[in-house]
Symmetry: C2
Subunit: 228 residues, 2 copies
């Protein structure tokens, strides 16, 4: 049986939200988003080791929130870096699992089916990411010159992204490149083929103010499903 480590990154500064409190700490129905994410991960993967990467200046804030909310779920806390790349690299050193999942702290709504698909996929792949087909048409280019591209060939990528631990660790020995927009692009840097599995449409990345309202609705739905 494989052992699983989950890295949760939460380095956001909340700029796109137009408020000072970084979005991962904003409460939905009384709970910080980050707490909801960690609890949900633990619910689906109760045996997984949880490693949380936060900017050092948020450690105090996070610990206060945890104690205020009586949140005692075991997790390692590691200091994030200037780029997400460095946060994941730091967190990786603290993982002991044979499989590693890397997840955005502001995505609390991944499904159990999605997680199962990732773990299942790792039995015959080095890297598996959850993706969704695109709802809108896609263009490539600049303001005054652009071309349409064939939407059906492209997929929107969610997290968690799942990896064989030794592959991800090797990939993170590379120097940082601005092409690394997610972990899949980092393992590609050492020639690893990335498989795709089906994500779930609720698994939004809480980014804009309207997303908080969507999140509130999704959370109600989730809690309702649990009590039914």
């Amino acid at each position: 049986m494989e052992s699983i480590s989950v890295i949760i990154t939460a380095g956001g500064t909340g700029k796109r939200m137009g408020i000072d409190l970084p979005k991962q700490f904003i409460a939905i129905a009384g709970k910080p988003i980050l707490q909801i994410t960690l609890e949900r991960m633990n619910e689906i993967l109760p045996d997984a080791e949880l490693v949380l990467a936060l900017p050092k200046e948020h450690f105090e804030l996070w610990k206060n929130l945890c104690s205020k909310n009586d949140f005692h779920l075991k997790h390692k806390l590691v200091a994030g870096g200037v780029e997400r790349f460095y946060s994941v690299r730091n967190a990786l050193r603290e993982t002991s699992g044979s499989f590693v999942l890397v997840h955005d702290g502001v995505r609390p709504f991944f499904s159990k089916t999605c997680i199962n698909g990732l773990i299942e996929g790792l039995h015959h792949a080095d890297a598996v990411v959850p993706t969704m087909p695109l709802v809108e048409s896609l263009r490539r280019g600049s303001v005054d010159e652009s071309i349409s591209v064939k939407r059906s060939e492209f997929f929107s990528v969610q997290t968690p992204q799942a990896f064989q631990a030794q592959v991800l660790k090797k990939a993170y020995e590379q120097d940082f490149s601005s092409h690394f927009t997610d972990d899949a692009s980092v393992v590609e840097g050492i020639g690893t083929n990335v498989h795709m599995t089906k994500g779930n449409s609720e698994n939004i990345k809480i980014t804009h103010p309207v997303d908080l309202h969507i999140a509130e609705y999704l959370l109600k739905d989730l809690n309702k499903a649990k009590t039914e």
Copy 2:
């Protein structure tokens, strides 16, 4: 001064909603989505000619909804085709404006700023579409082999898409191709360069069940802004 025609297409069958009533007819806060879209377009462009393309089998349903909701905004009704392409082609024959906007009936939340940007753009371009940067990473490929692509080069395309009438009419003389995923791709087929302008993040395409709740929230927000 230019004259403006707006084509609204609503050919959806509601498959992705998991219900029988096509999404354009679903009511939010008591009003069918399609009615909200038409009213909003009329609010922003009160002088524009409105042409609505609906599958013929929905004419009766739509007329009943209009009379039930006391909705008397003037609009031409034309029969849609099997593909969206044929719906727009049919509707185009009924337009008299020098500028034509083509819009999805299930997108009621375009902003006034977005519309102004499109009309302004048509003063020095043949085609202008509203776009947004992508929130999520992008991959290209198939389930067991995929590559990351540089997200910053790609843009998600919304509607309304805006065109010089004579350009759009010429483009729609082409034979249908499955590459035509939106109107911008149709005018590209005759070598027209497509400009991009900023869309607005609220301008969602109501597609999945969760979108109905988002729409409810956005509608409240819109009505609140009006009364303030």
